[in-house]
Symmetry: C2
Subunit: 181 residues, 2 copies
C-alpha cells in the first residue's frame, strides 16, 4: 500500500475535464462550473469550489477480495478512458455509529459492494479518496474513468450500488459526469 | 460516533502538562521540550514541535467489543488523573499492505489489543488520534490519562501490548510521560 496521496478537485474555468452534466441525488448541490482539474496537493488559483481527499488503505476488503481486485483493476489515465465521473458522498451519523463488523456486513454481505464493483473491471478504473477526517463537506470522493462505450455499464453499476442497503446510509451524493478530448 | 476532532500537541515552554521523561523505543527521537499542551485545532505560537491528529471511527472493534468499552471506559479530564502518556506510533509498510481481515486478526485474535486494554479500564482513560492521512511523521497519536497510583498498571499494560505480534509492525514509537499539578 503506497503512501497516502492528497488530491484536490478544483472546479472552475480551466482543468482537463469538461463537466457534461451534474445530478444531485440527495443533499445540497454544488455551485456550477464548466471544468474540473484533479491535482495532487492543493492546486493553484481561484475556484468555483474545491473538494479535497486523501487515498488510504482499504477499510473493508479481505485478502481474497484485495487479490481479486489487484488482478482485474486498471489504472487511471488510459488514453481510451475519455469519460469520467466524480461522485462525492457523505454517509449518515448512523453509519459512523456502527461498529466495524456491522459496517462490513452492510457493505459486503448485504450490499455486495466489492462483488458488484468486480463485475465492471477492468472497464471502470477507480480511485477512492477519504475526506471525513479533513473537515470536508463530504466523507468520500469517488472517481471513475471509462471509455465512452462503457458508460452504460457504469450506469448499470450505479443502479445496483444505489439499490443496496449501504445506500440507506448515504445522505449527500452528487454525480458529476465529465469528458476530455 | 461524534464528528472528527482535530487535535494538536504543542511542545514548548508553556502547556498544562509537564514532561517528566521521554523514552524513544524505536525510530528517530523528538527534540526535547519541558511542557506539552493538547489543544483543539492548530494551537497558537512557536513550538519545539507539533504533532497533529484527528479522532475518527474505530477501525477494528466489533459491536460487542464497542459495547464493553462503552460501559467501562472513563473520559479525559478527571481531576485525579494527574499523570498522562503521549505515545506517537508509526507502523510499517508491511502493516499497511495487509488486508482488513489480516490487520484485524493481528490486532485482536493474535495480539488481544482490545481485550488487554479492557483489563485497565476505567483506570486508564484513552484517546486515539489518526495522523497517517495528514502527512504527519506518525500514523497514530495515543493519549492516556491516569491517577499516579495507577501508573504501574499502565506500565504493565504497555509491556503486554509491546510483547504482542502487533508490535512487530511498529517502527517508530516514543513514550512521553507527563504530569499536571
Amino acid at each position: 500500500m503506497a503512501k497516502p496521496v492528497f488530491i484536490t478537485f478544483v472546479a472552475g474555468s480551466v482543468g482537463e475535464w469538461r463537466v457534461d452534466r451534474v445530478t444531485t441525488l440527495c443533499g445540497d448541490p454544488l455551485p456550477p462550473a464548466p471544468r474540473i482539474a484533479m491535482v495532487e496537493g492543493d492546486g493553484p488559483g481561484e475556484a468555483a469550489w474545491r473538494l479535497r481527499g486523501v487515498t488510504s488503505n482499504r477499510r473493508y476488503t479481505y485478502r481474497a477480495e484485495d487479490d481479486s481486485l489487484a488482478v482485474r483493476q486498471a489504472g487511471l489515465g488510459r488514453p481510451a478512458a475519455r469519460h469520467a465521473a466524480l461522485i462525492p458522498i457523505r454517509k449518515t451519523e448512523a453509519w459512523w455509529a456502527l461498529a466495524q463488523d456491522e459496517r462490513r456486513a452492510v457493505f459486503e454481505e448485504e450490499s455486495h459492494h466489492i462483488a458488484v464493483g468486480l463485475d465492471y473491471l477492468p472497464a471502470v478504473a477507480r480511485r477512492l479518496m477519504h475526506s471525513r477526517e479533513m473537515g470536508e463537506p463530504f466523507d468520500f470522493l469517488t472517481w471513475f474513468e471509462f471509455a465512452p462505450q462503457d458508460e452504460p455499464a457504469f450506469d448499470h453499476m450505479l443502479v445496483r450500488m444505489r439499490a443496496a442497503k449501504e445506500w440507506d446510509f448515504v445522505d449527500r451524493e452528487i454525480d458529476i459526469r465529465l469528458s476530455r478530448a
